[in-house]
Symmetry: C2
DNA sequence: CAGCATCCCCACGGATACTG
DNA sequence: CAGTATCCGTGGGGATGCTG
C-alpha cells in the first residue's frame, strides 16, 4: 500500500481500540498544553513563571494541571528549592525528551503539508452545494 | 540538548502558539477518531459500514463527521456508487497516507514507552501524600 | 445502506480571586 | 513566587430515532 512503516506490525487499527498501550501517546498529543510544555522545556529547565510567560495564553490552573500530569507520567521532574521566595524548577526526563521528539515529527509534517491541507479545505468549501456525484463505474 | 531533531529549527514552542501552520497536524492528532479512521483505511478502501465495524465504539454521527472532516482536508476521497442499495467507498489520498505515517511514528513511540509511563504513574500514585521535598542544593 | 436530526450530559478549560 | 479554590460557559460526543 505505501512507503510508510506498516502499521500492522504494531497491531494496526486494533492497537488503538480500547485502553491499549499506544493510546498513552494519543492522550499526550490530544491534550491541549502537554506537548507545548514539553516543547518549551526543550530549551532547558524552566521555572513555573517562565513557562507561564513562554506559553502565551495558558492559565496558572492549566499549567499546574499539565505539569502535574507530565510529572506523573515521568516525562518531567519537579524540583522544589525551599528558598525565600520559593523556587520550583521543571526539567525534561529522558522519556520526556523522546516524547518531544514526536513533536518534532509532527511539527515537520504539519509544516510540510499545511498549505496542501488549507488548499484542499478551500476547494471543498468552494464547491457547489448540490453536487455532481463522481460515478466511475 | 538531545539526539532528536531540534525543534527550534521549526520555530520551537512559538510555532504552536496561535493559529500557525503546524497546528493543523496537532488538530488532526487531537481529534478522537481521525487517526483511527486513517489507520483503518491503511488496509485499503473501505465502506461506511465496514469502517463502523472496524472502529469499535464509534457512532454513525461521529464517523460521518470524522470522514467529512478528513475529506475536506484532502486526506481521503469519498466515492458514491448510486447502486441499489447505495454504496459509498472511502480511500486514502497520498496526503492521507503520509498522515498515517505520522500515526506509525506515534504508535511506535507509544508501544515502546507505554510500560515506562505506566510504571511512572504507579510510582507517583503510590508515593506518600505529604512528601520529602527533594532538596539538592 | 449510509447517513441526518435532535436531545442531552459533563468534562475541558477559561476567568477570577485568594493563600503558603 | 508558585500555586489553590471556585464558578461557569462551551462544545465534544454519546444515545436514540428517522430518511433517501
Amino acid at each position: 500500500m505505501g512507503t510508510f512503516p506498516d502499521l500492522r506490525k504494531f497491531g494496526g487499527a486494533d492497537a488503538f481500540l480500547r485502553a491499549c498501550k499506544p493510546r498513552v501517546a494519543i492522550e499526550l498529543l490530544s491534550d491541549k498544553w502537554s506537548m507545548l510544555v514539553l516543547g518549551a522545556l526543550l530549551f532547558g529547565p524552566r521555572r513555573f513563571g517562565e513557562l507561564r510567560r513562554m506559553l502565551d495564553g495558558i492559565t496558572p490552573k492549566m499549567l499546574t494541571r499539565t505539569l502535574r500530569s507530565l510529572e506523573r507520567d515521568g516525562l518531567l521532574t519537579r524540583t522544589v528549592y525551599p528558598t525565600v521566595p520559593m523556587r520550583v524548577e521543571y526539567a525534561l526526563t529522558d522519556l520526556g525528551e523522546s516524547a518531544a521528539g514526536m513533536l518534532a515529527v509532527i511539527t515537520t509534517w504539519g509544516a510540510e503539508h499545511a498549505e496542501e491541507i488549507l488548499a484542499a479545505r478551500r476547494a471543498y468549501d468552494a464547491r457547489p452545494p448540490a453536487g455532481e456525484t463522481p460515478v466511475p463505474a
